[in-house]
Amino acid sequence: MEYSLDEVMETVRMTMYHNFDIRTVTLGINLKDCIDPDIESFKSNVYDKVTEYGKRLVHEAGKLEDKYGVPIINKRISVTPVSLIVESCDEDAPLEIAKTLDRAARDANIDFIGGYGALVQKGMTRADARLIDSLPEALSSTERVCAFLNVASTVSGMNMDAVIKLGSIIKDIAGRTENGIGCTKFAVFSNAPEDNPFMAGAFHGVGEPDFSLNIGISGPGVVRSVVEKNRECDLTELSEVIKRTAFKITRAGELIGRELASNMDVPFGIVDISLASTTKVGDSVAGIVEMMGIGKMGAPGSTAALALLIDAVKKGGAMASGNVGGLSGTFIPVSEDSGMNEAVKKGALSIEKLEALTAVCSVGLDMIAIPGDTPAETISAIVADELSIGVVNAKTTGVRLIPVPGKIAGDYVNFGGLLGETYVMDISTFSSRDFIMRGGRMPAPITSMRN
């Protein structure tokens, strides 16, 4: 036999016992060719394009799940940032498009559709402002639409006027939805990648072709199991072991992504090698860090352990695929990762430590429940802190906070399903209002002048 029994069993075990899966296949769709001065024609163009390709995506992905025995958990669509396609339309066009996208996603059996957002790192057009103002209504009146805003970048600095707006918008979204769940569909970024396959922040960037099939692999369970098997080795060797595993799962992801793109007759985009955790026990990034020897996620040493982990994943992934892209960092969403959630419950993990983790490899403060009475300007200040790390370090950072109405620090909240459950985190009560309300634009850092 061309393969040894051990080789075959390694692959089989990954899928059978260690939750190896393709976390998402996300088809990016250009909607610029749907624009029409007549809003009804515009909506029908959008609906037709999204449903046609959405249905094909679901159908073709299902066939590959069978062929390779690897579950493809989510089939999703990202579209051209909606603010760009409604520039010449009436005031209520953004909302109309949001509802159309929602209906199209539902009819095509797509669970989330991303791209309801704008890139405003340097300033806002009238259409951008209208879209931002529509966010609370759009996210509370639709089920599947995900929204994003890019408000900062290394070359443009940070649009603080947009950051001020965001604080109250996040609170408004929370207030209109049960347990503030609308906020789980909204991500704010610095340096947002244009080919990110993961929700809530996915959108089909302006530099992309008509279509682009992007894939997010997963495998915290697989990595955890190899770390478990290598309890005694030093960190150099541990890095090697993780690297080899990341290589293998990335190769599998690339194979499935390329085949899916070819079967759909669309260009293959990127493989996002982020380790995406789920609420399943054992499928947790915190679980890997703890298996490496950290007493509890958030304890001293966690930042170093996570840095080593993701560096090894990147090296293995880069060797496996020439198309690594998207976020390709660490996701440590608090509510969606059972180990992270447990660490919050035990008091091992604070929001400040989570912020520190983003300085090395995490891509943001993700799925964090905060007290419902947190002032809007404090939310803006947390966003500004987090995005500054991205701006200065020339990396992506994002924020997805949920100020849960009526809840205080320590309260339990359940978002249901893949969104998970969590405990409300403690937030400093000292105010930075005067700093935030200055507004303006934080200049780009000196490191951005590279020409």
Partner: protein
């Protein structure tokens, strides 16, 4: 005709008739067994069968449906995966 290879993997308690039942199912679908390997790993019976589906009318999902019955009756776990994924993961 180019080959269309799949790995059929079985994990479970060792018992009489595992290979007989699988080979029978595979034979009925006109699938050729290219190679067979079995051993006891960590207390479990493990078998991998490399099979060529090129001349079969059945799809992988048809085969999986048929194996689901055997899985239930014999308390086994059976996985069918196209060879490409093993090539991608284990061969550079």
């Amino acid at each position: 005709m180019p080959k269309d290879l799949v790995f059929i993997t079985v994990i479970g308690k060792d018992q009489k008739g595992i290979i007989a039942r699988l080979s029978n199912a595979v034979f009925r679908h006109n699938i050729n067994i290219e190679d067979l390997n079995q051993k006891v790993m960590e207390g479990y019976f493990v078998m991998t069968m490399l099979a060529d589906m090129a001349e079969s009318k059945a799809s992988i999902s048809d085969l999986k449906k048929e194996f689901a019955e055997i899985e239930k009756q014999m308390d086994l776990k059976i996985q069918v995966q196209h060879e490409n994924i093993f090539k991608a993961m284990h061969r550079v």
